[in-house]
Amino acid sequence: MVNLILDGQSVEAEEGWTILDTANYYGVDIPTLCYVEGLSAYSACRLCVVEVKRGVRSRLVASCSFPVQDGIEVKTNSERVRRARNVIIELMLAETPNSRTLQCLASKYGVTEVRFKGEDRNCILCGLCVRICDEQMQGGAIAFAKRGIEREVSMPFHKTPEACRDCGACLYICPVCELPCMGTLQPGELCNACLDAVQLEPFPSGD
């Protein structure tokens, strides 16, 4: 067993668990986007960052892939985590304003403003579709193409390859191409309709 401190509480975790596994076990809420149980961890969206302190040094790590270690102190809702998380939600919303998942995250975590000018790309490049196609469906029909700001999920040469069986798993798992958020349309706009209803209570973060 591994002993660590999670949001001020001493807890035990199984060897090999990630911080996210541990938090889920103890009912501590950490938001995730590119992580889904059953698919490999990708550590790309960075929404699940938590603060890990070992000795005097503390840093932000992706809880979905960071394996628990003896003696670490984890804070899932410190000032540093909240600031980073909110900027990340803001960055994703700038490009994907009509995702209900993201709009709800904004309300939940109190993001009330998008300060970045984006364009509606309708994809957050979380890679869930790519991984479900490859890892669960043995499809290998879609993948990331290009890099940096031009990165996109693509089929080879933009043509449906033989490998695609039209199984629909990619659509099923996509956090963006669901029913759109009804409150907003344009990049930079926020719905915030349920801001007061769902916003988090201040969390005992042990700060």
């Binding site: 790309a44 790590v61 290009k146 890099r147």
Partner: protein, 785 residues
Amino acid sequence: MAENKTSGIAEFVSRVIEENGAERSMLAAILHSIQQEYKYLPEQALRDVAATMEVPLVDIYSVATFYTSFSLEPKGEHIVTVCMGTACHVRKSPMLLEEICRFLSVEPGGTTEDKSFTVETVNCLGACAMGPVLVVDGKYYGEMTAGKVPRILKKYQKEEYPPEPEAMRLRSPGELSGYRDSVQQTRYSGETSVFVCSGTGCQASGSLEVLESMRLELKSHGLNGKVMVRGTGCHGFCERGPLVVIGPDNVFYQKVKPDDVPRIVAETVINGKVVESLLYEDPTTGEKFEHKEEVPFYAKQNRQILGPNGVLDPYEVDDHIARGGYSALAKALFEMEPEQIVDEVDRAGLRGRGGGGFPAADKWKACRKARSVDGVKYVLCNADEGDPGAFMDRCLLEGNPHSVIEGMIIGARAIGASHGYVYVRNEYPLAVKSVTHAIKQAEEKGLLGKDILGSGFDFEISVSRGSGAFVSGESTALMASIEGRVGEPREKYIHTAVRGLYVRPTNLNNVETWANVPLIINEGAEKYASVGTENSKGTKIFSLVGKITNTGLVEVPMGITLREIIYDIGGGIPNGKKFKAVQTGGPSGGCLPESLIDIPVDFDRLTEVGSMMGSGGMIVMDEDTCMVDVARYFLEFLCDESCGKCTPCREGLKHMLNIVVEVTQGTATMERLDLLEELAEVVRDTSLCGLGQTAPNPVLSTVKYFTEEYREHISEKKCRAGVCRALVTYEIDAVACTGCVRCLKACPSGAIGGEKKKPHTIDGDKCEKCGICLEVCEFDAVIRK
């Protein structure tokens, strides 16, 4: 032409796959061959590759679109590449690119309609001392100006492989030292020797022609065989190339042309006299120096790693052996236990030269201790030197590849690895060639491969070529790239020393780090550690470039001050300009102002002040450099090179760039500057890999040390360096203007009007603010406001 070849695609692809093997790790090499043959990757070829190698087509499509060396669009017959590295940028490569595109009527990245030229940009070719640099079909042209463009777009030069020596396997340390003696006696007995620098920088100034004339001239005097001639690796003083050094006294000639060769042979080689006019002359004092060691550029250096570059033919393993090469290997194999090797490196205090400065011995220990499922461990050499403005690794690999190979074998022995890879940038064709050749020679000599020197230790090295992605220099991305996948990083909460290449324990060190290893083994940890500061031992190689009198490669003891490097070795700032900043650490580093140039060069001290050692680019900036523009430059570079996997790096850098562009255009507010800082901190805190985590450094350091310049751009709409085009205007002083029509003819946008002998005027609407008029005017009549 590509069209005629399309019918043979299937045969070509199957032949290439047969030659390389259908291993996934050969994918990049296979795609490189196809790209080279057809000048692009035809869709049919990729389908054939997928089918033959049994890899999903989409994976190959991913790889083909990720790396910039590959193109899915047909390209022109001639590839014109303009370097956009930092050093070239501060020497106005954007203007050069503009002129080339205008001349060929093509956009950057595009191909001319007749498919004869493709114009590309590259983020640093590592020929920084010669900047701005233009490459046409692999031939380098240094110190380019817009005016030279039309003349150049034709030439092509074929390179030859030097003759290969006969192979003879060495089976023991005794045979190695016996062979060394015989090589020294038979081949290097001549008293006089001629060393012609053939590094990329000197080649760009025409050193191959000098070398050829030298061989012919000596032959005509019947001196071939009596005088040793060597085309060597980089001597470092690229600014003054082509360089020729005459041994044994090291008479140092600079800016040598083929026409000078007969005089050098007649006077120096035959009569031992010095040709005055070719000596280096101090530009300020006018003093001339005869010998290499006396030249101020070399005098303060400690060239323990770079030194052999100047006397070795990189294609001759015998040169390396004659100078004591592979003696450290013999010692490590026969006189030391693996633990002792690690201990020696530990006590020497060797820290990684690739950027972070992580203690090499700690990595080695972790990798040595790590368990491998099948006993296989890997040792890698990172030669993906992507930092714009840095080229020391290129020079070492080009000029002295055996020192790197020797270091790797010793490391492999210490760690217990059986296979190694050298991962080299594709933008360094000479380095690829030289290291590939050196590996082959070392294998033939029994210094690499099975049963090295009869010790029973097996270790082999393969070369893996990068394909144009800066992020592939990151350790996990580099390993993915070697495995034939997209070179994007992954989390390394479990270190690569435990789980690296092919999920095996893997040790990665940079070229310069490996080159230090034989030295440590040969002279011992204590002697090695006597150079340097408390926590940074040995020497560090820097590429000193930008607005500096003596550009080139310098190797200095750790602890030397930046001022000593810039003023004593570098000769200060040219043209009487004022020093403004020095940038170290490439896109991960920062810009340091004049108030900090007395700090010692040391891993920890540089990090403390917001920069870093990095791989060793040192770019000097003068008063004509705008610090906001520098921040914009690095952000553009990083946006271009980000793999796009994680949100903060991909999206965050894009928005940081947007804000900095607003500043350069005078449309930003102070609140936006605060947002820039907030965003920078989040990107640093949350990015997945080192690229994103350090990407904000150029911005944060310029905001910190040059706040005033940001404020001026925002509040006063003023760019004091006159770089930010939106904030400057050009006018002609009617009194000073003589009406010589030079500016009128030079203006590419036709914005200057007027007649001969009457003052000219600039039409503000047409003016593109390129500044060419200011450069060509001889009467100081063009004013920039």
